[in-house]
């Protein structure tokens, strides 16, 4: 004899079961660091940088990311900030990377940064990175991240970063 199960009851049962979970674990903020800054284009009124980030997901489940907001300071001066729609997933207990292209007009908006960028060719410059990941899982809040490190401009207009500290945003 066939058994027909009411789909509504089944789905509600599934939700009810999920509501019964009890655990002390919580999602951990991914560790995000600035890996590299490539100068893709330099013009009088516009400079295009490609910011490459390393990201480590310490959680035992993957994080599907649908939105990234970020801010980068060089030597405590705001260098770049913005938001970007994203579509990538960071595997569980693993790492990944992503890149964001930004257009700046440093001559107009932050001429002092030109000196900082120039000096970073011979000296490490401290950077501060902060932002949020939008996680494409219902009811899950955005996950903030923050990281401090040093960065130096390398030959060929490519900067490479060394990271020495991190702070998790509460």
């Amino acid at each position: 004899m066939a058994r027909y199960t009411n789909p509504v009851l089944l789905l509600l049962a599934a939700f009810t079961l999920s509501g019964c979970a009890v655990t002390q674990l919580a999602i951990e903020s991914p560790l995000v660091s600035l890996k590299r800054v490539d100068v893709a284009e330099v013009g009088f009124s516009r400079q295009t940088f490609v910011l490459s980030f390393d990201v480590i997901n310490p959680n035992p489940f993957s994080l599907p990311i649908n939105h990234v907001s970020y801010g980068v300071k060089l030597d405590k001066q705001r260098f770049a900030s913005g938001e970007s729609v994203a579509s990538f997933s960071i595997p569980a207990n693993s790492d990944g990377e992503f890149a964001i292209s930004v257009d700046l007009d440093l001559l107009r908006t932050a001429p002092q940064l030109l000196y900082i960028v120039r000096d970073s060719a011979v000296h490490d410059v401290a950077y501060e990175l902060s932002g949020k990941f939008g996680v494409d899982i219902p009811f899950v809040d955005s996950v903030p991240f923050q990281y401090n490190g040093d960065i130096r401009l390398q030959a060929g207009l490519v900067t490479r970063a060394t990271n020495h500290s991190s702070d998790k945003t509460p």
Partner: protein
């Protein structure tokens, strides 16, 4: 719970059955105490082996972790098929109530 998800599950976000399992894992590992408020908006049955279910789900609960849950309610549009004697979820779309569902 995963027994309720069809092996053929796929959705517009590109998720497959394993991705749904990952979401469940995220919930199970995150929450300390949570209650879901569900409202069935519509049920549509097509023949003997297909159905659609529209749900509005709100969340109320607490969490001992650093990060909390969003207080927003979500609208779900679920597609179910009958495989053998069981009704299984084969696709779903969702979004915050009042926002885009995909």
């Amino acid at each position: 719970m995963m027994a309720l998800i069809s092996p053929s599950y796929s959705d517009a976000r590109g998720n497959e059955r394993d991705d749904v399992e990952n979401m469940f894992r995220a919930y199970f590992l995150r929450q300390n105490n949570i209650k879901l408020l569900t409202k069935i908006d519509a049920v549509r049955v097509f023949g003997e082996d297909a159905a659609e279910l529209d749900l509005t789900v709100g969340m109320a609960g607490t969490n001992d972790g650093v990060f909390g849950f969003s207080a927003n309610a979500y609208a779900f549009e679920m597609e179910l098929v009958r495989e053998g004697d069981d009704w299984l979820l084969i696709s779903a779309r969702w979004g915050e109530v009042g926002g885009e569902i995909h």
